[in-house]
């Protein structure tokens, strides 16, 4: 298996956490993985993206030019990255914030209102976990059970007590995405 993914959206939408958690899950499956964040003079509300490469073989470049999958959380990211997607690639779009219909041939498009689903669960910040749930179902890199276990172990590592209280809602968000 060789998967190159770009996750993109606004700063504050949990892009980095989404990518980091996926990298952690891939590692737990015994795979090789790299995570590279787009960092710069960026801030909440600015653009944020990260690149995750997952492979059974040793990974060369951690930079992804033509991704095999894209998770897009807002419109500017769709404009910036959708042209780079490989043929037969997977495009997951946050349809709560992106109205555009994609007319590109030969790719698989899944539109999921991840922000609305997250709001219904009580916090739009878990939209990232809804999208990740959709992604892991499509790609089958890990099972839902392993993903939840990985999520819990990462949140338990955090020093702050309030992060631990977020386990429940994040778990529900992952499940909602997986079962969407």
């Amino acid at each position: 298996m060789f998967e190159e993914l770009i996750i993109a959206g606004y700063g504050g939408q949990g892009i980095m956490f989404c990518g980091t958690l996926l990298a952690h899950l891939a590692m737990e499956e015994g795979l090789n993985v790299t995570f590279f964040p787009s960092y710069g003079a960026e801030m909440r509300g600015g653009t944020a993206n990260c690149r995750v490469v997952i492979s059974r073989e040793e990974i060369g470049s951690p930079m992804v030019k033509n991704p095999s999958s894209l998770i897009i959380f807002n419109k500017p990211s769709l404009i910036k990255f959708s042209g780079q997607l490989k043929e037969k690639g997977l495009l997951i779009i946050n349809s709560s914030l992106v109205e555009e219909e994609i007319v590109k041939e030969g790719i698989e498009v899944i539109r999921v209102p991840v922000t609305q689903i997250a709001q219904k669960l009580g916090n739009d910040k878990v939209a990232n976990m809804v999208a990740l749930g959709v992604y892991i179902r499509q790609k089958g890199i890990v099972s839902l059970e392993s993903a939840i276990k990985g999520l819990e172990s990462i949140l338990l590592l955090k020093d702050k007590e309030e992060k631990k209280n977020l386990i429940e809602i994040n778990r529900e968000a992952l499940k909602s995405g997986f079962n969407y």
Binding site: V33, F35, F36, G60
Partner: protein, 351 residues
């Protein structure tokens, strides 16, 4: 069993330092190495070590100088513009034969440049960016695992040769996360018995550590002594990875992050039937000149790839001594090499 953990490159350097018994870290913030400074700020107080955010890079390297004199394992880190500021201190450390680790997570230059990963500081690192006839051991990690491993090695080499050692990384490997294997061992944090440290001379002869040598031919004699040490390092410490070189017609030479793109290009080229191999210098000084020289006799040509305008290529040419043609492909200013571009260059050369 060794644990596998997901960790950022910069953090892996910090973890390597702590596992190596580093007890004193001095730094000043600069992107893209800030996570390392933050890591040390968090961990050092917990292990009874010293963390100081100095008022400048110059102050930080001189604090390393002072800490090293007391015998503790010590480190500073910065990125390109900050490393320029440290050069005077590094020269003084080389002169006084003080062990210490200096980490450079390179960014684009010259000047303030940008904050993207780059390999523009090869000359500065390997030529001794400070003044005088000295050498600094330079280690170049190309993965997060090596950020950890080579940091550990740098502390060993610094003590073994009483020399400053530089870890020359870049913003890409610094910022990326990868799984690494590491042992949690019991770390020795005692000051090792060193016969040159300044720890108070009660009950023994006073010692002096200095770099000002004004006597007749005194400095020449001292420089020859240093040279003997550099010779020993050259004989014993050269490290390089050879990848698919046995039957190669063209060999790529690359270090650090560029070697990752290089390795991927080798794999892809082999799939397309081109016989390509790669030499990856891990020690940039001492440079693996014999390894490069020997392989140069067997191949049609060599392609040096760097994220710069071409700096290591000078060491390659010195090692090749005209035995084969040396080509170059690089991108400066923090732009990342694309595997496809390397393949284009390989096709151009092989035709």
């Amino acid at each position: 069993m060794k644990k596998r953990i997901l960790i950022r490159g910069n953090d892996a350097i910090g973890e390597g330092a702590i596992q190596s018994g580093c007890m004193a870290y001095f730094g000043y913030p600069i992107t893209p190495q800030n996570e390392l400074t933050a890591y040390m700020a968090k961990i050092m107080p917990k292990i009874g070590g010293v963390f100081i955010q100095a008022e400048s890079e110059i102050a930080a390297i001189n604090m390393v100088f002072g800490a090293s004199l007391t015998g503790v394992r010590t480190m500073t880190s910065s990125s390109s513009p900050g490393i320029s500021l440290k050069q005077e201190g590094i020269s003084y450390m080389a002169a006084c034969q003080l062990p210490g680790v200096i980490v450079n997570v390179q960014r684009g230059g010259p000047g303030l440049g940008n904050i993207a990963g780059s390999q523009g500081d090869y000359f500065q690192a390997t030529r001794g960016g400070g003044h005088g006839d000295y050498r600094t051991i330079v280690l170049a990690p190309y993965s997060v695992q090596e950020m950890f491993d080579l940091t550990c090695l740098s502390f060993e080499l610094a003590d073994k040769y009483r020399s400053p050692v530089m870890v020359l990384s870049d913003g890409v490997v610094g910022q990326m996360l990868e799984p690494i294997h590491k042992d949690d061992k019991n770390v020795e944090r005692k000051i090792k018995d060193k016969d040159w440290i300044l720890d108070g001379c009660k009950g023994r002869e006073p010692r002096m550590v200095r770099s000002l040598l004004l006597g007749e031919e005194e400095l020449e004699k001292y420089n020859w002594e240093l040279n003997n040490k550099y010779k020993r390092i050259k004989e014993q410490e050269i490290r390089a990875e050879l990848y698919n070189v046995e039957d190669a017609e063209i060999v790529i030479i690359a270090y650090g992050i560029a070697a990752r793109m290089g390795k991927q290009a080798v794999k892809e080229a082999r799939r397309q039937g081109l016989k390509i191999g790669m030499i990856r210098p891990i020690t940039l000084w001492p440079f693996p000149e014999q390894i490069v020289g020997n392989i140069a006799q067997k191949v049609n040509s060599i392609l040096v790839i760097e994220m710069s305008l071409g700096q290591m290529i000078e060491d390659v040419k010195l090692a090749v001594e005209g035995k084969t043609k040396v080509h170059f492909y690089g991108r400066p200013g923090g732009s990342v090499l694309e595997v496809e571009e390397i393949l284009d260059k390989l096709r151009e050369i092989s035709n």
